[in-house]
């Protein structure tokens, strides 16, 4: 559905089918501070896009703006080919069923058990028998690699890695088409982080997800992501595969992907 809101050519030449999220000339700021200025980005259907950037450069701000948690000053965001600004509220609610979000610190509801957390969106949106809901919650818990008894636990009884998994299970509760992951592997040990990368890959293939992943983790970028977008100077300065990133001339991207830590990891 071509319309006036997408006149720009897609900046990268990767031959992926169609953009599921399109961000064009986005400007976001708080007070006098401009965080994102003229940012454009495409997320293609069925890919895992890794989004990198220095601390405090606005990675989470972009995610939160796409999700509608932060007001933008200018620019267009369209998801599933529909511009978010032009969408009536009812459409918007329907759209929110089609994406799932895993927050950096989980944001699990502390007074509910893990299974109840997963059932929150199910109860809100679906017409299902309680037995089927329990069954589905148990299924999601096991799909993200938690033991089945984790469903009865409260978030305060879980370890950091389990919280991440539980949050992912909740993000998957409605079988969304897009999943936003905010630093999914931060705070995990390397083995746990690697398992998480594999998990995201597996789920993406099984459920046909599109994944937008904000991350710092070079291992995740190398092992889980199809494409990488780098944020610096308030906009996306490079998009492409890992090897394209390594070849990028931009100074920040260079120091990130060609620093000692990066080279040591990417070689291995």
């Amino acid at each position: 559905m071509p319309d006036a809101t997408q006149p720009l050519a897609v900046p990268d030449t990767a031959a992926l089918p169609k953009p599921i999220i399109q961000v064009r000339d986005l400007v976001v700021g708080f007070g006098d501070k401009i965080i994102l200025d003229g940012l454009s980005l495409d997320v293609m259907a069925g890919e895992i896009l890794g989004f990198v950037g220095g601390s405090g450069t606005g990675k989470s701000v972009l995610t939160r703006t796409i999700l509608g948690l932060i007001e933008k000053r200018a620019g267009h965001i369209s998801v599933f080919g529909q511009d978010l600004d032009e969408m009536p509220d009812a459409e918007r609610r329907k759209l929110e069923k089609r994406w799932g979000v895993m927050f950096q610190h989980g944001a699990l509801f502390s007074s509910l058990t893990v299974a109840q957390n997963i059932q929150v969106p199910m109860r809100e949106y679906l017409d299902l028998s309680p037995a089927m809901m329990n069954d589905l919650a148990a299924l999601k818990i096991q799909m993200v690699g938690l033991k089945s008894d984790a469903g009865e636990k409260h978030p305060s009884e879980l370890s950091g890695g389990m919280i991440k998994r539980a949050a992912l299970a909740r993000a998957l509760a409605l079988d969304p088409e897009i999943v936003f992951l905010d630093e999914p592997t931060s705070g995990l040990d390397p083995i746990g982080a690697a398992e998480f990368d594999v998990l995201i890959r597996t789920l993406q293939q099984t459920l046909g997800l599109t994944v937008f992943m904000v991350t710092h983790d070079l291992d995740s970028l190398a092992s889980a992501c199809d494409r990488i977008a780098a944020l610096a100077d308030r906009k996306v300065v490079a998009v492409g595969s890992l090897s394209e990133m390594v070849a990028s001339p931009h100074p920040w991207v260079k120091s990130y992907f060609r620093g000692e830590r990066a080279l040591a990891r990417l070689k291995g």
């Binding site: 080919g81 502390s110 007074s111 949106y125 299902l128 148990a138 409260h154 409605l174 079988d175 099984t206």
Partner: protein
């Protein structure tokens, strides 16, 4: 992108003992109940067969729910002795079915009987009440030791925290406490005059209001307000610090949370309560005086003169003597409840409620004990 939405359905073609069940439409969460009903109908309408082929090639969209339903169906048919096979699965549907199949659902624990639940609840409450008492006493001991430490080394004491708490408790709390006791003083005086007038004993309202305000009313109202205002704040502050591991952070830095958080608060309460009680007494008497003047026709000079003759120093000091004890009761309960907060937002709410309710209850109990004590020493 949104194609025509096809609701899920099935069609059975029989071929001797073999039946081909062609599934079609969208087997997704949007059709939740319908899918569940389909899964119930299907084995019924299938009837007696030996072999069943689930042809899922016609399914337009499949998600975990749909896959789960299909998986349960084939299990159910399988347990009835039908050999089930799935055919024409698209690649992505096959992976999803595989992912769902390897995971079996957990069996929910059977619920316990109502009676046992109630009995267990009662038992738990009794045990907790006992633990509360022990913990309260040991906590007060800890606070006393911490205050002792502060006395030995006053330079280590957190004066800034104490002053800050005093501002919160006494300075900011004073206006509302003064207003409330003023109004209650008015009301008690009005009621006293109204009732005593029938016996021609209007003048005795001064005795009534004077004694009740100084000995009980001002202190009780003060304690209840402080428990509601400051006790709840203590519990919430300490509780949210506990939730975010800030208390643990203090501990590992070698700081005692009791020194840092509890002692300044309890000391501030001990200082603030007598001040507030004094202010409350004065406000109550002032309100009573005004009411006596305008409603009872007792001139202010008469009121003050009579007050002077019936109220002696003892009545005045009873209220003030009790005030620091109430402060300790409120402060200790608020801090203990704060420390008891577990990880969840719900638990924070519960502990704040418990803090206020227990503090007010204990204030009244302690007040009753004091009344017996003062009566027996004829004070």
């Amino acid at each position: 992108m949104p194609q025509t939405i096809a609701s899920p359905g099935f069609e059975i073609r029989r071929d001797g003992e073999r039946a081909v069940i062609a599934l079609a439409g969208e087997w997704t969460l949007d059709h939740g109940r319908r899918l569940e009903r389909l899964a119930e109908q299907l084995p019924v309408s299938l009837g007696e067969v030996r072999r069943a082929v689930l042809d899922i090639g016609g399914i337009q969209r499949l998600d975990t729910l749909g896959a789960r339903v299909i998986d349960q169906l084939s299990h159910e048919l399988g347990s009835e002795g039908v050999s089930v096979e799935i055919s024409h699965a698209r690649r992505e549907h096959a992976t999803l079915l595989e992912a769902v199949r390897t995971r079996t659902a957990v069996v929910a624990r059977p619920p316990r009987s109502r009676l046992i639940e109630i009995l267990a609840d009662i038992g738990r409450t009794v045990v907790f009440a006992g633990q509360d008492l022990v913990r309260g006493i040991s906590f007060i001991g800890e606070v006393v030791i911490a205050i002792g430490r502060a006395l030995i080394r006053p330079q280590r004491f957190r004066w800034a925290a104490l002053i800050n708490q005093l501002e919160q408790i006494a300075f900011r709390g004073a206006p509302i406490i003064i207003l409330i006791t003023f109004l209650v003083g008015c009301i008690v005086a009005q009621q006293g005059i109204f009732q005593l007038r029938r016996f021609g004993a209007t003048a005795f309202v001064v005795d009534l209001v004077g004694i009740i305000t100084l000995r009980e009313l001002a202190l009780l109202l003060c304690a209840i307000m402080v428990a509601g205002r400051s006790g709840s704040a203590f519990t919430a502050e300490i509780g949210s610090m506990k939730m975010r591991e800030e208390i643990d952070a203090l501990r590992v830095m070698g700081l005692n949370p009791v020194d840092v958080l509890v002692v300044p608060r309890i000391l501030a309460l001990i200082i603030a309560m007598p001040i507030l009680t004094f202010l409350a007494s004065m406000a109550g008497l002032f309100g009573a005086g005004l009411t006596a003047w305008f409603y009872g026709g007792i001139a202010p000079e008469t009121f003050v003169a009579r007050l002077q003759s019936v109220i002696n120093y003892r009545h005045f000091s009873v209220g003030l003597i009790k005030a620091p004890f109430m402060a300790i009761v409120i402060g200790a309960i608020a801090c203990i409840e704060g420390m008891n907060v577990k990880g969840s937002a719900e638990s924070l709410g519960q502990q704040v409620t418990a803090s206020v309710v227990k503090a007010i209850f204990m204030v009244i109990v302690v007040d009753g004990l004091f009344a017996m004590f003062f009566a027996s020493i004829r004070f």
